[in-house]
């Protein structure tokens, strides 16, 4: 007997509105359909019709709260290519530091959510406590925890001051010391291993064909990382290597566990990058064109196109920008957030899983779409029954307990 279960449009595992239509037979998921058309904000349209290019940096920042450095980073890369603009060395380093700070906080946020999805709430609280350190540094350096408004065409808007450096270094020490503990909790814990090993497998072939990116692709053994393949900002100086799970476990399975491994190792990698960047931070200006009016005039006169690709915590974010002479907004603007490419991998991942696995598998790609608290289960006689988020969460927790007692 086949049943259809819609999960979403709003759901705790999916942080923005999206609908997963599952076809299930008993507990097993047979087919998945993803329906994204829930809430279109028309951000590209605003950038192409209403805003001037500088305003568009700030609207790009609001595409996603967690990726509030990544989208501006990609849009400025695209515009700098279109205008053929040079950026001061110091600004390039500060951009790298900002991007890596974002990666640390985003991956830790995700790790906490993942722990919550399998009913391990004490670990959620511990991870988020650890994450607070980097949030404090973000606030110290930028004056704000999210939407930092730091990126600008031709540089950055705020410098990293001398007095910030010892505090950032202290934070890096904290993460270096705490990493082993965090890795032990996540990677050696029996419960987490049971709930994530061999669950939600994405094969390398599927990852390549479906265009998966970021930790999702790397966990399946695709060594793809924009910072390595086509470095930008100051990344060529750091020789970044794409992290795959075999570096830690010796094999690539491509399951949820591997995606945890990749993200945790990336936190460590980011700490190392920031440490080097602080030591080698060049002196000099932070903006190529400090006069905003002149910059806006230059943007209006510019003609050209550019593609900005940035390795965001969730994968590659790509912006395409076309500028036309005497046309103030972007003539064409296309934003592709990482989840756009990763959503398709849900389909092979979820097939064959149990309903109780949906929260952790769906969360394992770190979806950046948005969230609800209920699921409507349509019974065979067409009657609708609402399973609350609490109920779904309870099912997931129950499975953890069942597994601990030796069930399946």
């Amino acid at each position: 007997m086949k049943y259809e279960i819609p999960i979403g449009p709003i759901h705790p595992a999916l942080k923005e509105p999206i609908l997963l239509q599952l076809t299930v037979e008993g507990e097993e998921i047979k087919d998945v359909d993803v329906i994204a058309s829930q809430n279109h904000r028309g951000i590209e349209w605003i950038g192409m019709n209403r805003n001037n290019p500088v305003q568009s940096i700030y609207i790009a920042e609001r595409i996603c709260g967690i990726c509030n450095i990544s989208h501006p980073a990609a849009v400025i890369l695209a515009v700098e290519e279109a205008m053929n603009m040079d950026v001061p060395d110091r600004a390039q380093y500060i951009r790298v530091i900002q991007c890596e700070l974002e990666r640390i906080h985003s991956h830790l946020l995700w790790a906490g959510v993942a722990a919550h999805e399998i009913g391990f709430d004490s670990l959620l609280h511990y991870t988020w406590k650890v994450r607070e350190k980097v949030m404090d540094i973000l606030e110290l350096v930028n004056g704000n925890r999210v939407t930092k408004a730091i990126m600008m065409y031709g540089g950055v808007r705020r410098d990293i001051k001398k007095e910030h450096i010892p505090k950032i270094k202290k934070m890096l020490e904290y993460y270096k010391e705490g990493f082993d503990k965090l890795a032990k909790f996540f990677l050696e814990d029996k419960t987490i291993e049971m709930r994530t090993r061999n669950v939600g497998i994405l094969t390398k072939e599927d990852a390549l064909k479906l265009g998966a990116i970021g930790p999702t692709a790397r966990a399946s053994g695709v060594k793809k990382d924009v910072r390595q393949d086509q470095p930008y900002f100051a990344y060529p100086d750091f020789d970044v290597k794409a992290i795959t799970p075999d570096m830690f476990t010796g094999e690539v399975v491509g399951d949820t566990y591997d995606r945890i491994v990749v993200r945790l190792l990336e936190v460590k990698q980011s700490v190392e990058i920031i440490e080097r960047a602080l030591d080698e931070l060049p002196s000099g200006d932070i903006l190529a064109e400090p006069k905003l009016v002149k910059l806006l005039m230059d943007l209006k006169k510019a003609e050209g196109e550019g593609v900005g690709r940035h390795e965001a915590p969730r994968g590659e974010v790509i912006h395409y920008v076309k500028l036309k002479k005497d046309f103030e907004p972007f003539f064409s603007w296309k934003v592709r957030a990482p989840t756009y490419s990763n959503i398709m991998s849900w389909i092979p991942m979820l097939k064959g899983c149990q309903i109780a696995d949906v929260p952790i598998v769906a969360a394992s790609i770190d979806p950046c779409i948005s969230c609800t608290n209920r699921v409507i289960r349509i019974n065979n006689d067409g009657k609708r029954e609402i399973i609350g988020g609490d109920e779904l969460h309870r099912l997931s927790v129950k499975k953890t307990k069942r597994l601990l007692e030796g069930g399946s």
Binding site: I35, A36, S37, Q38, H40, G42, E44, W45, M48, E81, N84, D89, Q92, Y93, L208, K209, L210, G211, I213, V222, K223, K224, V226, Q228, D229, Q230, P231, Y232, F233, A234, Y235, P236, D237, D239, K241, A242, E280, P282, V307, R309, E316, I318, Y320, K322, F331, S332, K334, R336, Y340, S341, I343, M344
Partner: protein, 173 residues
């Protein structure tokens, strides 16, 4: 695609007399690296052949990112953003396949059977620009809601663009 593989692709394009352009931009502070882009002016009838060539000359599989679009009045530009050669430091090349279409003949063949990742972008292009995708396996709306009016295409700059747009505070009234 390593440098050798890239040359192979460019040779094949030359053989078919397809125009292309190579763009480079230097990045990095102490150690310099080049961001390479190959822009291929793709005639619509050769689009599928060129994608096949791209797959053949790629070591893994070409990564498809997204489609972008620009409206020039009489004609439109559709760009397929691919990248190949990832996995090794500084070896990746962006490949943009640019298809130019006349306004009165807006259609392109589907690529979903060759590159499965294109389905979302093709659905998006269909609803946002009104370009007909021939043989698209799934023609539902991607991002716009089900009840979005027909014949209104948000990315266009002509009479089919959305006319009445209201600011948020006007909606609240």
């Amino acid at each position: 695609m390593g440098v050798k593989r890239m040359k192979e692709l460019l040779e094949k394009l030359k053989e078919k007399k397809i125009k292309f352009e190579i763009r480079e931009r230097e990045e990095g502070v102490k150690k310099k690296g080049k961001r390479k882009t190959v822009l291929v002016y793709t005639p619509r009838e050769n689009l599928r052949d060129i994608v096949k060539m791209l797959i053949e000359t790629s070591e893994d599989f070409p990564h498809f990112s997204v489609c972008s679009f620009a409206d020039y009045g009489d004609y439109v530009e559709l760009n397929y953003h691919f990248s190949t050669g990832y996995g090794k430091p500084l070896q990746e090349t962006n490949v943009i396949l640019r298809v130019t279409l006349k306004k009165d003949d807006l259609r392109v063949p589907t690529l979903t059977d060759l590159v499965p990742a294109t389905i979302f972008s093709e659905r998006e292009i269909k609803e946002m620009t009104g370009i007909e995708i021939e043989n698209i396996p799934d023609g539902r709306h991607m991002f716009l809601t089900k009840d979005f009016p027909d014949g209104v295409y948000p990315w266009r700059r002509d009479e089919t663009a959305p006319k009445e747009t209201r600011k948020m505070y006007e909606v609240w009234k």
